[in-house]
């Protein structure tokens, strides 16, 4: 059982709306999630389902026009919603940090990377240049960079993608945060470099006892490193459970479909058709009371139009949103 103290982040009923010319785009709807010390929560789902917006909402980095609603966004017992921007920026980069898919979004091309890392420590910890440099060198070495002193003097464009991503990780760790949110940290990397970077994240998480939220669309990564998984579709979390629960007993038709789509060497028979989800994701603009998956779902019925979002439990810690009971979704109950 996780105690209250171990819950680093708790988000309840988070929604993000973005006004667009054709109406209101509901990027995130009623999302609940929590991140536990020393554990990894993975948020998976396909492009546009709201993964990044969820993270940006927590980090207060949403695009200007976006509107956020939530019943709670609590970090280590502080409700972040009540903080002024100034108070918030004392927390971001300090108690929680974010790693982006493209390191260039957080690295300034005109400054040496050393200055950028040190600046964080100086700002949040009030440390001197010397102390900050020592911390930066230590972390660069820790993320596997061989000659940290030299690297710190280099500019971002002088580094390979894999190196930049490691530097981003070091940067996130500068102030020993309690929570790291990594948004597709390895998507742009080669498989071998990806394996290195994931290892590193895992090791550092254990070493510093951090909560990690990992955002990805790659189910392989999720299966291998997540403790808990939240599957998002069209702005909503449609299923959540432990990694084992989700992969051994995927219940929501979308989760089942997603898992069937991916080729699995040794399991899927070569050169045969893969499972696939027909159709495309619906527009997120405008009100949509029912289940957003219904236009692609083989199990869809009339009542999915308005009743698709009831939360049902499979077992302890494993729940999903669908009108159908588990037995029906698993094919163990004949349709009425």
């Amino acid at each position: 059982m996780t105690s209250e103290r171990d819950t680093i982040l708790r988000v309840r009923d988070l929604s993000v709306d973005i006004p667009v010319p054709s109406g209101t785009l509901h990027a995130v709807r009623n999302v609940d999630l929590s991140a536990i010390r020393g554990r990894t929560l993975a948020i998976v789902g396909e492009s546009g389902c709201g993964k990044t917006m969820t993270a940006l909402a927590v980090m207060r980095l949403l695009p200007g026009r976006a509107r956020l609603r939530a019943r709670e966004i609590g970090l280590e017992g502080t409700d972040l919603r009540s903080l002024s921007d100034k108070a918030f920026s004392a927390i971001r980069g300090n108690r929680m940090a974010m790693i982006f898919q493209d390191p260039m979004t957080s690295l300034n091309p005109v400054y040496p990377i050393g200055d950028q890392l040190e600046e964080i420590h100086i700002r949040h910890r009030g440390s001197g240049r010397r102390e900050a440099r020592e911390r930066a060198e230590y972390l660069l070495a820790r993320v596997g960079i061989v000659n940290p002193g030299t690297r710190l003097r280099q500019f971002p464009h002088q580094l390979s993608g894999g190196l930049r991503q490691r530097i981003m990780i070091a940067m996130a760790l500068m102030c020993d945060p309690a929570l790291i949110v990594a948004d597709e940290p390895t998507t742009a990397l080669d498989v071998t470099v990806q394996a290195q970077v994931l290892h590193l994240l895992k090791d550092l998480q254990a070493e510093f006892d951090m909560a990690l939220i990992l955002i990805t669309h790659d189910l392989g990564i999720v299966a291998r490193i997540a403790d808990r998984i939240a599957v998002m579709y069209a702005g909503r979390i449609v299923e959540t459970g432990s990694s084992r629960q989700i992969f051994a007993a995927p219940t929501h038709p979308y989760t089942q479909g997603l898992i069937d789509c991916i080729p699995y060497p040794g399991k899927t028979e070569r050169r045969t058709a893969l499972g696939s989800i027909p159709g495309i994701v619906p527009s997120l603009v405008g009100d949509a009371p029912g289940c957003m998956f219904r236009n692609r779902c083989a199990m869809a019925e009339e009542r999915c139009r308005d009743g698709g979002n009831v939360e049902r439990s499979v077992e302890d810690g494993h729940s999903y949103r669908c009108v159908h009971p588990v037995e029906r979704l698993r094919g163990t109950m004949v349709p009425s």
Partner: protein, 332 residues
């Protein structure tokens, strides 16, 4: 028609590379003298009619450069490519284009945003002056149906389509003039998994019905395992291993192939992360390591690996270029 059957002949490979090398002159800094970068280095292999040959390897290893040469878009610096038995130089640009068509990774940038879907798919027909206006229109409709695009989209523009639909357009455009060979360069890596599955299923079906040959570049080894008949593994411009898909995945020979296969993350929560493959950085292609180019990162490297380059060995299991297999007896 007779030409088409010559292409499908079982004895003559549809494409054949013989010691193909491609150099690029690049400058390290603004005022420095250019040096030669060996993007593809002494690569030989044959593509057989009707097969799916995958090319895999890390970013920058030369996959796209090789593909562009196979498409006749880039001449080799040395070595030769034969096309259905004839040297590529002797075959006209338009004949190659009529037989070998590309599909690129990015369905967003590879389609002209100002042309309708019908115009995009019909362009190769117009360029090759195939059929009358009416016949072309019928062919466009037919090909759109084949790749699963609804007919009303014929007047739509690329920005009105989803990523998967755009990739279907790129496939339709490639197939419009009935090529024998399609070269795919990362055709699904920009797509979501559910869309990727739709496209892969389409590709497998098209290949069966149209008896096509595919050259399939991908960094996704699980996808490659699923659809390829043979796999070519490249490292820093070299072809380091080639063999049947089953053999490569069950019994990889080159240490680099082993490393690649270990980093596949199958969705099995009982397995953790595989051991970190190697810590070293990807080597500088302008100053590649001596000897075997993989030796600084190779877990099995021996004394002489850094001194002398291994020679490629070919036997009934395919090709491998590694000292572990040099000097050992092999059936030939």
């Amino acid at each position: 028609m007779s030409e088409a059957s010559a292409i499908a002949s079982p004895t003559v490979p549809v494409l054949e590379c013989d010691r193909v090398t491609r150099l690029f002159r690049v400058k390290r800094g603004l005022f420095e003298t250019p040096v030669a970068l060996r993007a593809v280095d002494d690569v030989s292999f044959a593509v057989h009619g009707g097969e799916v040959l995958a090319i895999v390897g890390e970013s920058g290893c030369g996959k796209t450069t090789l593909a562009r040469m196979l498409l006749g878009l880039l001449p080799p610096s040395s070595g030769s490519i034969r096309f259905a038995g004839r040297p590529m130089e002797g075959v006209g640009r338009s004949e190659i284009a009529a037989r070998v068509q590309p599909v690129f990774q990015d369905p967003y940038s590879s389609l002209n945003p100002r042309k309708t879907l019908g115009q995009i798919v019909g362009l190769p027909l117009a360029v090759h002056r195939i059929g009358t206006e009416d016949e072309r229109r019928a062919r466009i409709a037919e090909i759109m149906e084949l790749v699963g695009l609804p007919p009303h989209l014929v007047h739509a523009y690329p920005n009105q389509l989803s990523g998967g639909q755009r990739q279907r357009v790129a496939i339709a455009r490639a197939l419009a003039i009935q090529p024998a060979i399609v070269v795919f360069d990362e055709p699904t890596s920009a797509l979501d998994v559910s869309v990727q599955a739709q496209i892969l299923n389409l590709l497998m079906e098209l290949r069966r019905t149209l008896e096509l040959t595919y050259i399939f570049i991908s960094h996704d080894l699980a996808v490659v395992e699923h659809i390829a008949d043979r796999v070519a593994v490249m490292y820093l411009g070299r072809l380091v291993e080639l063999g049947d898909t089953g053999r490569i995945f069950e019994d990889p020979r080159h240490p680099y192939t082993e490393t690649l296969l270990r980093s596949i993350l199958t969705p099995d929560p009982a397995l953790g992360l595989p051991p970190g493959p190697f810590d070293g950085e990807f080597p500088d292609p302008l100053a590649p390591p001596s000897g075997c180019r993989f030796h600084p990162r190779c877990p099995k490297a021996m004394e002489h690996c850094g001194a002398t380059a291994p020679e490629a060995r070919t036997d009934s299991s395919g090709l491998v270029e590694c000292h572990l297999y040099n000097g050992k007896s092999h059936d030939r």
